[in-house]
Amino acid sequence: MSNAKQSSGPPAIVGIVVGAVLMFGGFWFSKNVKLEFISALEKQGIPLDPGKTISIIGVLLILFPVIKFFFIAPLAEAIQNRTTELERTFGEAENLRAEMTQMKQDYERRLVQTEADAREQIQNQIKEAQSLRQQMMADAAAKAEELKASTAREIETQKQQAIAELRHYVVELALQATEKLVEANVDDERNRKLVADFLETVEAPR
């Protein structure tokens, strides 16, 4: 940028040469040329020296490129670099902002999606828990019914067993009593009849 500006104006050497001519010419003019109106102005209290003025203009023409070369150009370059850096920084910041905006949008979208997924998952978990609860309740009810039926069967079995044992006990007691009764009442006559009855019915295997 600075090079382009330098190349668009007149060459610096021209300004230096013109300045040197004007500086030396003015100095020479101040020393050697005495104009009437200048003398008249000095008499009136106005010290005007055109030669010095021209010389100073020449000096300024010389100093201007130097100042431009040593101060203005580096300063412009620094400003340009700074501007470039700022532009780059702003660009990066803009990119980052855009990226962050995108990330924010992505995040918000993902957040929304995550919330939706979470809600769906929660709903699924709730449904699953409800289903599991119903299944567990059904299982518990079935087990309770089975246990109830098993207990009833066990009670019935025990009852039948107790009844059978009681009947056996009654039979045993009755037979023991019968045995004692018969033993007390069997005389020879009855014994003879018992043997006779036995002989009538006995079947001897060969």
């Binding site: 039979v171 037979l175 018969v182 014994n191 002989l199 079947e203 060969r206």
Partner: protein, 182 residues
């Protein structure tokens, strides 16, 4: 007790008796010998003792029974004593009886009762058993005071239980069986 040793002596004696036509006589002699041994405890102890001299046992046996029983019985008993088979004499007699019964188609039954079985009942019992088994019946009557009534007839591997206790036992089994099936 192993019956094979007694069975061999019994078989040998039975063969000799059969050949001599003295099966019943030999059995009667054996029964007499055993009765005499049982009747005299000292004689029995001497005869059955393993420390008694075999020669003296044999001589004593000849002196006591030589004149009253058949020679083949005496010879058999002396042979058993010589071979230290005194303990086999009674089993040998049982085996001899078994051989004789088989030979004569006789069925030995043991009739057990609480009191003596009357004669007419005995006759009816023997006749019925003979008719049903087809064998001649040889009954041995035993008394069992613990019986309530009735009789029990045992032979071979069979028991015909006509006792009161047996009937009650069958009634008990029947009632229990019906209770279980009910």
């Amino acid at each position: 007790m192993d019956q094979r040793v007694a069975g061999r002596y019994a078989q040998a004696l039975f063969n000799a008796a059969e050949k001599a036509g003295a099966i019943a006589k030999v059995e009667e002699d054996l029964r007499e010998v055993l009765a005499s041994i049982d009747a005299h405890q000292g004689f029995q102890a001497f005869l059955m003792s393993p420390v008694s001299d075999r020669r003296k046992k044999s001589e004593l046996l000849g002196e006591v029974f030589g004149a009253s029983v058949s020679p083949m019985v005496v010879q058999t008993l002396r042979l058993m004593i010589d071979r230290r088979r005194e303990a086999e004499i009674r089993p040998m007699f049982a085996q001899y009886q078994e051989l004789r019964r088989n030979h004569e188609n006789v069925l030995h039954v043991v009739v057990t009762s609480r009191s003596e079985v009357p004669g007419d009942i005995r006759s009816r019992l023997i006749d019925k058993l003979a008719a049903q088994t087809g064998k001649r019946i040889e009954a041995e009557y035993a008394l069992d005071p613990t019986m309530i009534g009735g009789i029990r007839v045992a032979y071979d591997n069979y028991v015909l239980d006509g006792t009161v206790r047996g009937r009650l036992a069958r009634l008990r089994d029947k009632l229990k069986s019906e209770l279980q099936s009910a």
